[in-house]
Homo-oligomer: 245 residues x 2
Amino acid sequence: MLSKAQIKYIQSLQHKKYRQKSGQYIAEGDKIVPELLRGGRVRELYAAADWIAEQEALLAKVPGLKVVDVALPVLKQLSALTTPGKVVALLDIPPAPPAVPLTGAVTLALEGIQDPGNLGTIIRIADWFGIARVICSPDCVDAYNPKTIQATMGSIARVQVAEGELAPLLQQGAVPSYAATLHGRSIVEFAPVKAGLLLIGNESRGLSQPLQDLCTYRITIPRLGGAESLNAAVATGIICGRLLI
Amino acid sequence: MLSKAQIKYIQSLQHKKYRQKSGQYIAEGDKIVPELLRGGRVRELYAAADWIAEQEALLAKVPGLKVVDVALPVLKQLSALTTPGKVVALLDIPPAPPAVPLTGAVTLALEGIQDPGNLGTIIRIADWFGIARVICSPDCVDAYNPKTIQATMGSIARVQVAEGELAPLLQQGAVPSYAATLHGRSIVEFAPVKAGLLLIGNESRGLSQPLQDLCTYRITIPRLGGAESLNAAVATGIICGRLLI
């Protein structure tokens, strides 16, 4: 059983203010929660009895996990989704990693990504291509927003998400940097990149001119047709698909 | 002024049944509608007075266009969005193109894409890479769904979307076909493809085995990290970014 206060607390975590205050976030869904149970910091789990029975073996492997059997109407109250699943997890937000690029690796830097789905999809792309750290400018949407978590499909447990100003990182010039723009060198000209900072800008404005000017290379996905732009997450995927493999 | 019956008609076009019956669809938003005015089949436009004044030059170029000045509360009634913009357009669905690959070009074939946002994003990717035709299996979400239209960002006016069974196309074997799968040849092994059929499967199940078996090549985006899969639209973008440029 969950008390009204507990339900209210879990609901409050849909808002950044309360996530920051408590250091906790929520994740839900039959696909994502099992992934997070394997790699995340799940503290409590609220689920339908049949889901708990099905996942018994997995649940037994998570030390100190509190599992609460709740009815579907309660799950609906806890859920941020229009079509709630059978499980909601309460997790600790991991300590913030330093907002610096990793040595000898590719780091992704995001400026002003506003759509939580895009940010989550970008974190999932990072995870696919083995990018261990994503640095978000302070005006990006929060990585622990329920919609972002949903879109990461569990990758939030494997990718470090840092927050920090991007200009100072570029001014240090410790690693080569690649700015995704509409008027740079074609991505096909580059050999696979083993270390560096890959910068992706806001969905409608793109990467700001000051950041572009600080980057080693401006890179562009050649356009063969009529679309004016690409979705930010799709562009990130295409660039990773050329520069990292 | 719009009558209650007109408002009801426009609202009905949020549902596939009524779109099919009437042969019309709606598009909205300050970015997409101007694009469609340039390339689409806009019949009527419902917009705030200030929007109409701003776009006067563009509106004058569209022959036979009916422009209706409506108040914001009415726009809110017409809109399928949670945050309505200042304009809703009523368009004719173009005649269905034949569900066959184009000769000497790359055609995209989609099996069971369920998410309207994914389908729209894929149409936008096709447009960016100069793919003129997308063939959707009958179990794909409708391309004229308002959410799909929104995600195409106007590309729906430049890309032909056909509907048809995919197996017969592959059995004809007129062009080489590339099946996106998790266990095929790496996309880095392929030289740029100038003509052929590129197949993308359902978001969770991927491409069905019978279709995979009919394809000339099974292709895969090499995975360097931990994510189990990629979003279907992102995968389409990455594959196009390797095979088409």
